[in-house]
């Protein structure tokens, strides 16, 4: 039996996951990377994407993160995410309707509205989330 990796994923509002796992695959800014137990100390920034938690070769959990950091130390892997949701608990239809609402809002805003960039970011995020669910 291989060693287990101590993995925790925290977002500003709460600790999303904490426990022992076999293998975690996370989306780094310079490419996706996998972490097993006894990984060398490593730190990287994350891009928006899916963190996969694997037990053996089976994906146990898929977590969608929006930016953040991964920090690998001898003590384990810590991911600090700006925002994180467990994909199992997300309803695809709801995301779709949120996306439609955000798009409509963007259309109704004026061209020079200060909310435009924030809305566009929101739409990009929701689109990425939707594609992650259907994948």
């Amino acid at each position: 039996m291989a060693d287990k990796l101590q993995f925790s994923l925290v977002s500003p509002s709460r600790e999303v996951f904490s426990g022992e796992v076999d293998h975690v695959v996370a989306p780094g800014t310079d490419g996706e990377f996998g972490v097993l137990a006894n990984h060398a100390p490593f730190m990287t920034t994350l891009k928006t994407g899916v963190v996969r938690v694997l037990d053996g070769d089976v994906a146990r959990m898929r977590l969608f993160v929006r930016g953040g950091f991964a920090d690998v130390t001898p003590a384990g892997l810590t991911i600090l995410a700006e925002e994180a949701v467990n994909l199992d608990g997300v309803d695809g239809a709801e995301v779709g309707s949120q996306l439609a609402a955000a798009r409509e809002k963007l259309l109704s805003e004026g061209a020079d509205s200060p909310h435009r960039t924030a809305l566009q970011e929101e739409i990009d995020y929701l689109e990425a989330l939707r594609s992650a669910i259907s994948a």
Partner: protein, 293 residues
């Protein structure tokens, strides 16, 4: 001696005041629990973030010039104070204490000939400082719409601070907020935000001699991380402040309820004596009237 009717009215009014303070106390207790949970839930992130920042700054080594948010502008002429208070009163000395601390800091800085600018968070602090320092205000963050969701406000304020710093509007930013020690104690605290101070209490990690790999590299990670660290500091201050406000409110209302109870007791005693005196007087009148016949 007040008349019976007057006493009765006073007892009635104190009783209704007591009902209000009691209700307010129970509301504050319920809100306190929620605020405390939120503050506790945010702690792991803040702690880990502090650890990462501490490790990174240690890895940068002495003398290395990090991002400006960490190393400062090399100047400390213009100070920005972020004074964080509650939106509402009825919470004892909570807002007054923070305002007092802010005044003291402002006086110290001005005595040293520094330029002071103020951003207020929460209505009460703004009101308290308006009389003396209204000309120093540069912005205000209204939290009355926040309810329990402080994250967008914290991120907004954090971004605003970074932008102002990059624009050279100030050299040093300090946050003055109320530290939530426990339900009975909240004390005002000044925390330097910019240039960021590496947290002292962070756990340093023993790497057993192996070398940290950074991707892309230390500087880029730090540049990405420090604004977020700033947001995290602001957010945890907001959460602590919210919990402190409810705790102070609960304590203040508890005292008020108890005071009202004591007042009711002493008024009731007075009322009963007055009533007894009146009955005795009436009896004497009847008896002496009967004797005269």
């Amino acid at each position: 001696m007040a008349s019976l009717k007057e006493l009765k009215n006073r007892i009635g009014s104190v009783k209704s005041t007591q009902k209000i303070t009691k209700a307010k106390q129970m509301v504050a207790a319920a809100k306190l629990r929620r605020a405390q949970e939120a503050a506790d839930a945010a702690k792991p992130y803040a702690r880990r973030m502090a650890n990462v920042v501490a490790n990174l700054t240690a890895a940068m080594g002495e003398g290395a010039t990090g991002p400006k948010l960490l190393s400062g502008t090399g100047n400390d002429q213009t100070h920005l104070l972020v004074v964080m208070t509650a939106e509402r009163g009825l919470c004892g000395g909570f807002n007054a204490n923070t305002a007092k601390e802010a005044r003291q800091v402002i006086r110290c800085l001005q005595a040293d000939g520094k330029t002071v600018k103020i951003i207020t968070v929460g209505k009460k602090g703004r009101e308290a400082l308006k009389s003396d320092y209204a000309d120093l205000f540069i912005d205000h963050v209204d939290l009355s719409e926040a309810k329990d969701k402080f994250t967008p406000f914290a991120i907004g304020l954090g971004k605003d601070l970074s932008a102002r710093y990059d624009a050279g509007e100030f050299d040093v930013a300090t946050l003055i907020f109320s530290e939530f020690k426990n339900v009975l104690t909240q004390s005002p605290k000044a925390l330097q935000l910019i240039p960021a101070e590496a947290p002292a209490e962070a756990d340093t990690i023993d790497l057993n001699g192996s070398i940290y790999i950074y991707e892309p590299n230390e500087t880029e990670i730090l540049e990405d991380l420090l604004p977020r660290y700033l947001n995290t500091l602001v957010l945890s201050a907001m959460l602590e402040n919210a919990a402190g406000e409810q705790a102070a409110s609960m304590t203040a209302m508890d005292n008020a309820t108890r005071n009202a109870g004591e007042l009711i007791d002493s008024l009731t005693l007075q009322y009963n004596r007055a009533r007894q005196a009146q009955i005795t007087k009436e009896l004497i009148e009847i008896i002496s009237g009967a004797e005269a016949l």
